[in-house]
């Protein structure tokens, strides 16, 4: 292993720059990140609470608790978005809870388990929610047509469809990236566990 010892010497002698950021700045960044995460949590919870309150208030106040076509359509649309945000929020929290101080094998096992759950979300729950949103939108279209001008109806039709397409594209991109990462974790990292 003489050649390896030689390599080790060369490795240790290579140029290593000094830290470019002072430690005080890193501490400030850490604090800023923590605050950002906290704000994200609070604002997500706020959005979810307001959505539920608005839905319940609308249902009781303006619809007298009756389940007509409009109420069902609205519930389907807002409900699916609500569930989607809730799932993303829970996923985010679960990811944050994976301790980076775990050993590499435990950490990658936890990451793999996390992305396996994400896979189920992407392939089972997301299509259901997406379909629910589409049903809601379809239920509302005739009501829009009867109650709004033709121009505004066309605007709602195209903007609603556009939103569906963009939403599907974003989900697809996120899905593709996470599945690539899952494949990487399973194929490139799991190998040492089997040995």
């Amino acid at each position: 292993m003489e050649s390896f010892n030689n390599m080790q010497e060369i490795w240790k002698q290579q140029h290593t720059p000094k830290p470019t950021i002072p430690s005080a700045e890193l501490m400030a960044t850490a604090q800023k990140n923590s605050k950002k995460i906290k704000h994200k949590h609070v604002s997500t919870l706020l959005i979810l609470t307001i959505t539920v309150l608005v839905l319940v208030a609308y249902f009781l106040q303006f619809n007298n608790g009756k389940m007509n076509r409009f109420a069902i359509g609205l519930f389907c649309m807002i409900g699916s978005l609500f569930l989607r945000i809730l799932i993303e929020y829970i996923s985010f929290r679960k990811f944050q809870q994976i301790d980076v101080g775990h050993s590499f094998s435990l950490y990658t096992a936890k990451l793999t388990s996390f992305y396996n759950i994400r896979k189920k979300i992407h392939f089972v729950i997301t299509p259901i929610l997406y379909a629910l949103y589409c049903v809601g939108f379809a239920l509302l279209l005739p009501i829009f047509k009867d109650n709004f001008s033709f121009g505004f109806y066309i605007y709602l039709l195209f903007s609603g469809t556009g939103f569906l397409v963009v939403f599907a594209w974003i989900i697809f991109k996120q899905n593709k990236k996470e599945m690539a990462l899952l494949a990487f974790l399973k194929n490139d990292i799991d190998t040492h566990k089997a040995e």
């Binding site: 292993m1 050649s3 390896f4 390599m7 080790q8 060369i10 490795w11 240790k12 002698q13 290579q14 140029h15 290593t16 720059p17 000094k18 830290p19 470019t20 950021i21 430690s23 005080a24 890193l26 501490m27 960044t29 850490a30 990140n33 923590s34 980076v100 101080g101 775990h102 050993s103 590499f104 094998s105 435990l106 950490y107 990658t108 990451l111 990236k177 990462l181 990487f184 490139d188 990292i189 190998t191 040492h192 040995e195």
Partner: protein, 160 residues
């Protein structure tokens, strides 16, 4: 010693090793190595009060480093395929051309290893003790020795 002072000492002492480990992982890319090293120390600062001293502080920092490097793959800006043009250009002044070429070759050969092998050999090159590496990787020392033997052989063959 207060926490800030303790962190300051940890940062100064461990930065070069963390940086080199990240640089090796990212095929000699200084930008990725620098970003990852900074992220490691942000996490170290955030979790310093949770460090239970079950292992040496160095081992704990290496654990955070290997996990953080792995997580860089999640970032939208990260491209897994790092071009070989990023291989180190600047080496110590007392380097000769042959050593410089060998270092470049080493970076290339390390990239050919699987992720676990890459992490292990980078720590071996840094002179980290086997006990610490086994703890960082979460494997037994016996398994580690077998792996190291295999990786060293493969790396030596590749570099020559």
């Amino acid at each position: 010693m207060d926490t800030e002072e303790q962190f300051n000492q940890i940062y100064t002492r461990h930065y070069p090793k963390v940086y080199r480990l990240c640089k090796g992982y990212f095929n000699g890319d200084d930008g990725h190595a620098s970003d990852a090293a900074q992220e490691v120390f942000v996490k170290v600062w955030q979790k310093l009060d949770q460090f239970r001293q079950e292992s040496a502080i160095g081992t704990w920092i290496y654990t955070i480093t290997v996990n953080t490097c792995l997580l860089q793959l999640r970032k939208p800006s990260f491209k897994k395929e790092i071009k070989t043009e990023h291989l180190p250009e600047r080496v110590a002044e007392n380097y000769n051309f042959r050593e410089e070429e060998q270092l470049k070759k080493m970076y290339q050969c390390i990239q050919k290893l699987d992720e676990t092998g890459k992490m292990i050999i980078l720590m071996v090159l840094e002179g980290v003790e086997y006990e610490s590496i086994a703890s960082v990787m979460g494997i037994t020392q016996d398994t580690l020795r077998v792996k190291i033997h295999r990786i060293k052989k493969s790396l030596s063959n590749c570099v020559q």
